[in-house]
Each structure stands twice: as C-alpha cells, then as structure tokens.
Assembly symmetry: C2
DNA sequence: ATGAAAGCGCTAACAG
DNA sequence: CTGTTAGCGCTTTCAT
C-alpha cells in the first residue's frame, strides 16, 4: 500500500539492509547515511508493515486479551488496566470477547495465536480438562485471570474465598439470624465458574466454622421469590450476593415489596462496581482490585514472554468496602 | 511455529498449491485428493498463519475499532454491538482505546492501518483539520461514529440536537421557570466534542424558538456550586445534563444538600445508561441506541470494504426514555 | 560500513 | 486436475 522499505532504499540509493539498519538502529552504519535515510523515511511517511515484520520476526509486540465482554464493569476495568500497562511497555493489545461461550472463547484464543500475539491474558469460562492442556501447549505464554483453568497455568486473581469468609463473619457479628448466599447456577456443564465457586466455598466454610446453622445457598436464575420467602422479620436475614448486579436486582425487587436494604434486611454485593456510588443506600461490597489484577497480569506475561523468571501465581487480597446495607 | 502448509504438502506428497486449493475450496481439484488433504490437515491440527495470509492477500478480515475507553457504558455497548455484528459476518475485530488523547488516537489508527485491518470504526476526539484529511487518505475505509470529523467522512450517529430540542420543549411545557444545560468544557483546543456541541446547539435553539429567557449553559468542570446557586424554589429549575454521569453526580450532590430530583428540581441525563435502572428516582434520559449504531456502522463499513454502494451518512433518532425527574 | 540472498507462510498467475 | 514460480514487506545471516 504505502511506501515500503524498498522505496526508501531506492530513493537513497542504498540496499534494503542498510535502510533497516538505519531505522532499527542495529548493526554498524555510518552516522551520515543513517541520518540521511531516517530523514527520507520521515519525509516520505514511511511506516513499517506490521504484518510483514511480525511474519519475519515471529514477534508482534502485541498481547491478546480475551474476556467475557466489556459491558460488565469488572472486565472493562481489567481491559483498561491491561491496555494501559501494555502500551507503557511498548506493547499493543488485541481485545477479543467470548460472551461466556466456551467454544467461541477457544476460537478467539486461536485467532490471537494465529495472529502471532506474543502472549495472552485470558478470563476463561471453559472448564473442559482438555482445554487446559491446549492452553499449556500454546506457542506463547498465557496468563489466566479471574477463573483458574486447570492447574499449573499462570494465574492472577483475588482471594474470593477469604473475602466472603470475612464477610460472613462480619454478618454474624452483626447478629443476623439467617444468611443467604446468592450466585448464578454453578456446575453448569463445561462452564467455568471458579470465582463463584470460590465465593460459595468461603460462605460455606465460614458458616461451618462459626457453627451457624440457618444458612441457604440459592443458585437459580429466578431467585426473587425464594429470597422473599427467606426474609425474617426485624432485619433477621442477610443476603450475600456473588456480584453487585445480583445485589442491585435484589434491592430493586425488595424495594418494590416495600422493604429497604439495611433496614428490613442485610445486603452485600461483590465487585466494587462504580455504579454503587450513585445508589442509596450504599451497598456493602468487595473491591476486586481490577487495576492491580490487570497490571500484575501484564507484568507476569511480559516476564514470561521475555523468559525472565517470575512468580506465576498471584492471589491478591480483596478488600471490604463499607456501605450501609449490612 | 505450528504445522504449515508445506508440512501438509510434504505429508500428502503434493504441492503447496494443491493444498491451498483443497483447503480454500478454490480452483479445480479432484474430490479424492481434496478429501485426503483436508483429512490430514485436520489430523495435524493445521491452522493458517493469519499474518502470512494477510500479507499475501493484503486482506485480513479484521476490522479495527477505536474508542475512548470501555469503562464508559456508551462505548462498551458500541464495542459489543460491533464485535457481534462483525463476527457474524466473518470478520474479527481489533479493539483499541485512545482515552480522549488525540495523539494516541492517531497512533492507534495508524497501528491498525499498519496491521492491514480491512476497515476502521472510529469514535474520534480529534478536531484538527488536517486529521480529517489523513483519515480520508487512509488505504481502507473509515466509518466515524459519535463525533463527526470534518465533512465527507462516512458517519453513523444519533440526532443529539433534535433530542435535546424536544427535551427542552418538554421541560418548558412542564412549566419550569429556569433551564440549565450542563456539559463538559467545550472548545478545548484540538479536542472534538461534537456530540456535546450538538446537544448544546439543540438546547440553545429550543430556548430561542420558545422565547424562553432564563436559561444558562454551564461548561465548567466544577459545576456543583453554580448549579446550587441556580436552584429556584418550588421546582423552578430543570437541569439538562449532556450525559448520565453528570446527572448522577448532580443528583448525588443535591441529595447531600437535602434536595431531591423531581421534587425540588428537574433533571435529565443523556445516554440511557443501564445504571439508571437501579437508581431512584428514575432519571429521565435519552436512548443513544448504541446497538443500532454499532450494527449500522459495521454494515456501512462492510459495504465500503466490498465496494458496494451505500448511504454513508446515517443519523438515527435518539429516543426519550421516561423517568420521574423531569 | 554496506550489500546479496534466503526465508517467514501464504496466495495467485501461469503452465502443463 | 496439479505443479512451478514469483511475490507480499521485512529481517537476518553471511559475505565483501
């Protein structure tokens, strides 16, 4: 399309090789010709063809990112952090979405691989055993975030389990008499719901350790009525939601019934979504530290790409954000 | 890296060309060899190298998307719609962010160009005259969304001006005595704020046409106090915000002062952000139809890529979403 | 200090 | 129906 390295070579009356050396500052070359070549390259608006370069070097200085979508604040924040960090390290990003479809996820990963990205950051929803093996065999490093995929794959995430554990302890101290944990349907065939499973595990562990008996786990999609039937009078029930959206939806539903969060019942979300800034009463939630996750994932990936050794498993504490609903 | 077309050719004892023909279903080839080649390609997990293919064909079946960021619901929705529509038409997307930095925006566009994307969908913040020319000279079509960039570039967007015009008419009918329009600082050097300018234009046009005199435009970042000083008693003032976030922030501020939206003052946002579902009272807003925008932009771009003729300027009406604050 | 030549993996024009 | 050849634009030995 545009002006190529051959054009510059011809104009300057030198060989392609010399032009390369001038532009990439590699090898020995006289300062005079270097300056001259750079000058004409500039003047003619030369820009390297990244496909050709990638093909020749099998290195693209691009990292791939695969997440569920970007409508969800959680992923949007991760994507943002990853993009920024990558760019500051001289890498571009290629963002792909899988919409919670394991097959599509694999396609997107393959597409990135076939485009020779130098590494991938992946928030997977795939739970097939064979899938983890494929990822491990990939020609470039892959760092998983959010959900673990098999064992041994590089991972960055927050300590979901512990966060919920502490949340439950807090709820018990606040003398709730019944605890309800709300999450999407787990153990859906082939679907990786690691973070939700971890949160549920934290919930169950906590009630068990505390010898607390009146607890419930609701996994169904249609939770409103069940939740309503679990309300105890006098602020007796606390709902621990595995995600802020669940909490918001529940609060909306209960408001319709005339119950308000923090008064008639307890409520917590999970994710620290910025939306919550505008909702009253402020919902108690957990900060997922997406920015840190994104940065750490990039740092880990770049280390792996450059074959520096580094920790390949990082679990960051998730912090409690005080609200007025627990 | 992986298995190439040469490997398959060698294994099958045929030439590369034959393999190509078998795989791409092009040219004449015997069904027998075709089947055999496809079989072995399958077995050996052959996947085409997209860089090499792109270089050879100078066609990548990828479209680039450049937006401000993905934290903002507006762009997230557009990105989602674009990704989906592209994928359903056999194209992948390459999403890049510019964070409202005109220089970075240009870099990202160039990067996409240098990667031989087949076309670009761009939500620009660049207002330099020369920039529009560069875009027009690009080797592949570019469709702009949200903000217009110069004249003559393909464009898809909503009718911001009309939407605000009608909003103001509505406010006047509701007997507000003072109208305040809130937007980010316009006319920032080199920054393209077309949509906000359009909305302001709609506001000014409407008050003028109605002969309404007590109106104000606030552009400063620090609008809280000024807004407060513009409050008239008995629900006298309506605040028209050029964006839902402004509306939410203002509502939060006023709530702190003891004033509630829809009671002591009128309020509207713009964007139809889904957040608003969870905020009471429901804020009146305008639906930006991001999904339609995204789909239409992809359709237009694909037509341009495939050199089919099509309308290259599409303005969709933005619809009023009823709330309880105006 | 500079150039020639081969190659990355794929496609396409032209033979046979 | 199949193979040969050249080429996309850039990088990288290996000579000179």
């Amino acid at each position: 399309m545009g002006v190529t390295i051959n054009d510059i070579a011809r104009i300057c009356g030198v060989s392609r090789t010399t032009v390369i050396r001038a532009l990439n500052d590699t090898g020995r070359i006289s300062d005079a010709t270097k300056a001259r070549i750079r000058q004409t390259a500039q003047e003619n608006g030369y820009r390297p063809d990244l496909l050709a370069r990638g093909l020749a070097m099998s290195r693209t200085y691009t990292i791939g990112v695969v997440v569920l979508n970007v409508m969800n604040q959680h992923f949007a924040q991760i994507v943002n952090a990853v993009e920024e960090r990558s760019r500051n390290n001289g890498y571009g990003v290629n963002i792909m979405l899988h919409g919670q479809d394991p097959a599509l996820e694999q396609q997107q990963v393959n597409r990135l691989l076939d485009y020779h990205v130098d590494g991938i950051i992946l928030s997977s929803v795939n739970a097939e055993g064979s899938y983890a093996d494929m990822l491990k065999k990939a020609p470039v490093p892959i760092v998983t975030v959010d959900n673990r995929v098999g064992r041994g794959l590089p991972f960055v995430g927050v300590d979901n389990r512990k966060a919920v554990y502490q949340l439950v302890q807090k709820a018990i101290r606040k003398t709730y008499r019944r605890l309800v944990f709300l999450c999407p349907p787990l153990s859906r065939r082939g679907l990786n719901l690691y973070v939700h499973e971890e949160r549920r595990a934290g919930f169950l562990e906590a009630v068990k350790d505390a010898g607390f008996s009146d607890y419930h786990v609701i996994e169904c999609e249609d939770y409103s009525d069940r939740c309503k039937s679990l309300l105890l009078p006098e602020r007796g029930t606390a709902f621990i939601c595995s995600g802020d959206i669940f909490a918001l939806e529940l609060m909306k539903f209960f408001r319709g019934c005339g119950f308000s969060a923090g008064m008639e019942y307890g409520l917590t979300g999970f994710d620290g979504t910025s939306i919550l800034d505008y909702v009253v009463p402020r919902i108690d939630t957990i900060d997922n530290h997406e920015k840190e996750i994104g940065h750490a994932a990039v740092d880990m990936l770049l280390s792996l790409i450059e074959k520096k050794d580094c920790k390949t498993d990082l679990v960051i504490p998730a912090d409690y954000l005080n609200g007025r609903t627990l």
